[in-house]
């Protein structure tokens, strides 16, 4: 390392912190602002835009939206969709990636490329046929349909992450188990599964957050208040009174908090999974 004289180093340190602080401010201020706006009393939000912290904490909006709107329903639905997509898509993906990673066969590359390409093309581009498909299958506006759809959308992503993980597990372990007479399913369950857990964890978190935040597809496949997911339900609530900014920010807050919590707790896994999914290091 090059030696830098002391004042120079201090200046550099100061500059680093200044830039980082500025960036952090830009990235987090709107989020903090809306969290705070949701607990401001009556018209403060309209009249004092520069005030970040509320003059007093008022949670009446929180009570109001939970009492008058089926927001609890939306939360439960989103939880079902997200967890359902996590469990189903990862189960399918784990099986598939085991098959892909541990076998050499004709068509393997073709399969992998298909999966990769399907993963990279967002479902948004084919939203019209997806909508018609859900109608024809009788899955339109049903919770089971939404879980199936979200799972199918997330499978390629899961495969993509897990193949890399399973590749890294030494094949000698499988061999030893085969010598012991274990079936492939036992190998998958007792050897591969535990060793692929870090990969599964990051795929799970990523699937959870992605599904929780999904808006476009849910907005056309769901219609009744018993089935709406959190973002679409929020949109319905906001459409009723778009200028009630306190209600709008409280709705946004309820959307945000679960994701922020998941992120704060499991940040490391998300980053690992993302980088691994995008580029195989």
């Amino acid at each position: 390392m090059k030696r830098i004289n002391r004042p120079g180093r201090l200046a550099k340190l100061g500059l680093n912190h200044a830039v980082a602080l500025f960036a952090a401010f830009i990235f987090t201020y709107p989020v903090i602002w809306i969290l705070m706006a949701s607990i401001k009393p009556d018209v403060e939000i309209y009249r004092e835009p520069l005030r970040l912290f509320p003059s007093r904490i008022d949670v009446s909006i929180f009570q109001r939206i939970f009492q008058t709107q089926p927001i609890a329903h939306y939360l439960v639905n989103s939880l079902i969709y997200s967890l359902g997509a996590v469990v189903i898509s990862l189960a399918f993906a784990l099986f598939a990636s085991y098959g892909l990673s541990r076998h050499e066969f004709k068509g393997k590359q073709a399969t992998l490329i298909t999966i990769l390409m399907v993963q990279m093309i967002p479902a948004l581009v084919s939203i019209i046929p997806i909508y018609l498909l859900m109608q024809r299958l009788g899955l339109y506006d049903t919770r089971i349909g939404m879980v199936i759809l979200y799972s199918a959308i997330r499978i390629p992503w899961g495969v993509w992450i897990l193949v890399g993980f399973i590749d890294q597990i030494p094949k000698a372990l499988d061999e030893a188990a085969i010598v012991d007479g274990a079936s492939k399913f036992r190998i998958l369950w007792q050897i591969i599964f535990p060793l692929a857990l870090p990969g599964l964890a990051s795929a799970a978190i990523f699937t959870f957050v992605g599904t929780w935040n999904e808006f476009a597809i849910a907005s056309i496949v769901l219609r009744s208040s018993t089935n709406l997911s959190m973002p679409v339900g929020s949109m319905a609530m906001i459409a009723g009174d778009p200028n009630d900014w306190r209600m709008v920010s409280m709705t946004a807050t309820v959307n945000l908090l679960p994701v922020l919590a998941v992120f704060a707790l499991l940040q490391r896994h998300i980053i690992a999974g993302l980088t691994r999914g995008a580029v195989k290091e």
């Binding site: 090059k2 680093n16 912190h17 980082a20 960036a23 952090a24 990235f27 987090t28 709107p30 989020v31 602002w33 009249r47 835009p49 520069l50 399918f92 099986f95 098959g99 892909l100 541990r102 076998h103 050499e104 066969f105 590359q109 992998l112 490329i113 399907v118 990279m120 093309i121 967002p122 948004l124 084919s126 939203i127 019209i128 046929p129 997806i130 199936i148 759809l149 199918a152 499978i155 495969v159 499988d174 061999e175 492939k184 998958l188 935040n213 808006f215 476009a216 900014w245 709008v248 920010s249 709705t251 946004a252 959307n255 945000l256 922020l260 704060a264 998300i270 980088t275 580029v279 290091e281």
Partner: protein, 310 residues
């Protein structure tokens, strides 16, 4: 790749085809592949057929050939949305790359609290597009009561028409998407910087290279692959953006910020006539453009040899 598993399975040629199938990889792969083909790949194909029909919600379509495409490529709404989508794509991707690299380089430096900083940089990326739209809509309110204009007011600057002036609205949308997508490119860039062997940097230090020289001659060339991957991912994401701009401007003013996905939604589900056929044609256009970038990516990462290890 060397197969170690296969030889340990009993002689294959004595088994029937069915048995061979059962012991092969397909029982593991097929369930996932079925879901994939049925729910994801099939709609792509079906969409191509739909785009040749005049289907409306509630009216089974008749085949009308290329009529939808002909109408679209004469339609001012669609054409201007293509133009803006192009600008939007280039600008957001360039912004994300530049600031992503900047912040990644910053986080490479040695100072305290880096982990916390990185976490805050990633927050916009974890926020849903829907919430991001709401957030910025409230920040960009145009009277003196909007956060930004109130700030300008303090400095005696007249209020800015963030969303009601066509140019400004286009810029605002781009800014919001850069804000939102920066975290992703920051992560990739950080990953790319980590791959660079430390010895190379050190030998450059010994040669007395300046920071910018090191960046230009060593770091950037070493990160070439990861930057191009990053660009492709960002381009695809930008091309398929929908919800933030839907919430933020709804495509306004006068269609100035209506990106292509918004036009597709509006044609199919928004304007009361629900022209699924024409909407599908827009979807096909989006699909084809996305596919081009996907193919570039697949080639770039040399995927065919050893699935994706660059």
């Amino acid at each position: 790749m060397q197969s170690i598993v296969q030889p340990s399975i009993q002689p294959l040629n004595r088994q029937s085809k069915i048995e061979r199938f059962i012991h092969g990889p397909w029982p593991f792969i097929l369930p996932a592949l079925f879901g994939l083909v049925f729910m994801r790949a099939f709609p792509f194909v079906w969409q191509i057929w739909l785009s040749f029909t005049n289907m409306r919600l509630g009216r089974p379509g008749e085949f009308i050939g290329l009529q939808n495409y002909r109408v679209l490529f004469q339609n001012p709404v669609f054409l201007s949305s293509i133009a803006y989508t192009g600008v939007f794509m280039v600008a957001t991707v360039a912004g994300q790359m530049f600031f992503g690299l900047l912040l990644a380089l910053l986080l490479e430096e040695d100072f305290k609290g880096k982990a916390v900083y990185r976490m805050t940089f990633l927050i916009p990326w974890i926020v849903s597009g829907f919430v991001a739209g709401i957030l910025w809509q409230l920040m960009l309110v145009e009277t003196r009561f909007g956060m930004f204009n109130a700030l300008l007011d303090l400095m005696n600057v007249p209020p800015v028409r963030w969303l009601s002036n066509a140019r400004n609205a286009q810029m605002s949308v781009i800014m919001v998407y850069i804000w939102k997508g920066l975290g992703f490119s920051l992560l990739l860039m950080s990953g790319g910087l980590k791959i660079i062997p430390q010895e190379m940097i050190e030998s450059a230090d010994i040669d007395g290279a300046s920071y910018l020289q090191k960046l230009r001659l060593i770091k950037l060339p070493m990160m070439k692959d990861i930057i191009s991957v990053n660009i492709i991912f960002s381009v695809i994401a930008a091309l398929n953006s929908y919800e933030t701009v839907f919430v933020l401007t709804g495509g306004g003013p006068g269609g100035a910020t209506s990106i292509i996905a918004l036009v597709m939604f509006n044609t199919a589900f928004g304007d009361g006539r629900n022209q699924l056929g024409r909407g599908s044609a827009i979807g096909v256009v989006m699909f084809v453009v996305t596919l081009i970038f996907v193919i570039i990516y697949v080639r770039k990462t040399n995927f065919a040899k050893g699935y994706g290890k660059p």
